[in-house]
Assembly symmetry: C2
Homo-oligomer: 257 residues x 2
């Protein structure tokens, strides 16, 4: 690793700025590349700080700072005495990392695991909205699926999910139904896609008759509409979903800092 200020993978803001990029940022980029390429897979340990320092020809402290930031972004997990591991949506004691819905009493697992019912799962073509969200061309193949999540036997979430067809070749309703565990964990093992972060837009809405029926609502109930765009490495959008959450027995939990 050279010490001189270099153009580096940190794209300058297009114009005149020389774009000074600290060493640890460049290291961060290299580590990210190895993560994305699958050199280190979810759940596995990455090389120790000393090994990485030798590999990149920098001091351990510099590697440390790079890893610190990646760990804060939930891409890596540090475990003192054991090593640094690639984060995963499976096994992570924090299952359902992106699901912020909590029951008014108890916790999500107090009534056992969630039950999942696939309503349908079909290949189709992206409409304008979905194409735009997923950075596809209108008409590109997409996989569209709907499902209901129940907690303690009560249907609570109705979701509609769109995935790029090219990336998720071979994903079927059967494959999804057979699986235990979070869908995002399956994406990792079967398709090498790791969801890294997401944006959500929340609204209060009245469900359509079909939607109310799928959630077995007996009285008119406003629902929380949650539109989510999920990203994999390098801010690449990889999933668009819209959920309808019952919020008479649960609430959407959020922390502000």
């Amino acid at each position: 690793m050279t010490t001189e200020t270099s153009p580096a993978p940190t794209a300058s803001t297009a114009a005149s700025a020389p774009a000074f990029s600290p060493l640890y940022q460049q290291i961060k980029g290299l580590v990210l590349k190895s993560l994305q390429s699958g050199e280190w897979k979810p759940g596995e340990p990455i090389p120790s700080e000393f090994e990485l320092a030798a590999r990149y020809k920098v001091s351990q402290g510099t590697v440390r700072k790079a890893i610190d930031e990646l760990a804060q972004n939930n891409l890596l997990i540090r475990r003192q005495g054991k090593g640094t591991f690639v984060a995963t949506h499976a096994e992570q004691h924090v299952q359902y990392r992106f699901l912020k819905l909590k029951p008014d009493t108890g916790d999500l697992n107090s009534q056992g695991p969630a039950q999942r019912f696939i309503i349908d799962c079909k290949r189709t073509r992206a409409n304008a909205d979905v194409a735009k969200a997923l950075s596809l061309r209108g008409g590109d193949a997409v996989l569209q699926l709907r499902r209901v999540l129940s907690f303690g036997g009560v249907p609570t979430i109705l979701e509609e999910i769109w995935l790029p067809g090219a990336t998720f070749k071979g994903l079927t309703a059967e494959r999804l139904s057979a699986d235990q565990g979070p869908m995002y964990a399956l994406f990792e093992t079967e398709f090498g896609i790791r969801m890294v972060r997401a944006k959500e837009r929340l609204r209060a809405v009245n469900p359509s008759e079909e939607e109310a029926g799928l959630l077995q609502l007996t009285t008119p109930t406003p629902l929380l509409s949650v539109e989510r765009l999920s990203f994999t490495y390098h801010d690449t959008p990889m999933e668009w979903r819209r959920g309808l959450y019952r919020t008479d027995t649960h609430y959407y939990d959020n922390e502000l800092n």
Copy 2:
């Protein structure tokens, strides 16, 4: 600053653990104490890293790590070449730091600043729920106020706010109406209270007739109910509010990591 492992402000988990507390955590605690005591006020610079290092008898790097964490928690703001400043809800280019509502088109300020109308502001006694949230005894004095926020002339948010009466002595509707700028900024300058973080619970609800009227809703519209508990230093709850947000023209924006 002693280097030996000390009991320190880091409360041990009640039982047998000796509770090792790193030096920089202890420094963090001392800095926090100075923040809370008002030695350094919102908007003001704190001493330089070298000065603090001398004061606490530790190396600059240790002070740095302490400040880094406080800056990440939005308690401090670092400005290269200038210094480190106490964060504030005023002036901060990010006004309305805790307000996650965004318009479907444009941004919150595209139609000028928010208009605020105080509906009422009265001193009363805490009911059980409010008392519990604010860690008061039932019947303690509380200040209760309601207001409407409008954007571009459209009433969009109806809020009901409860504050501990003892801390906010002298806060009146007149005082609030006279003020420009965020309420949390006024809390800092007038009462020495700085809101540091908050928790929100979201639900979809149907407004009562009175609520619909105050928001000038002409058709039945489900609203986003946002219950917020705000904390000042040391996780002390200081404000409870419930907002009703119109989400037909706006949405609640959230980032998941």
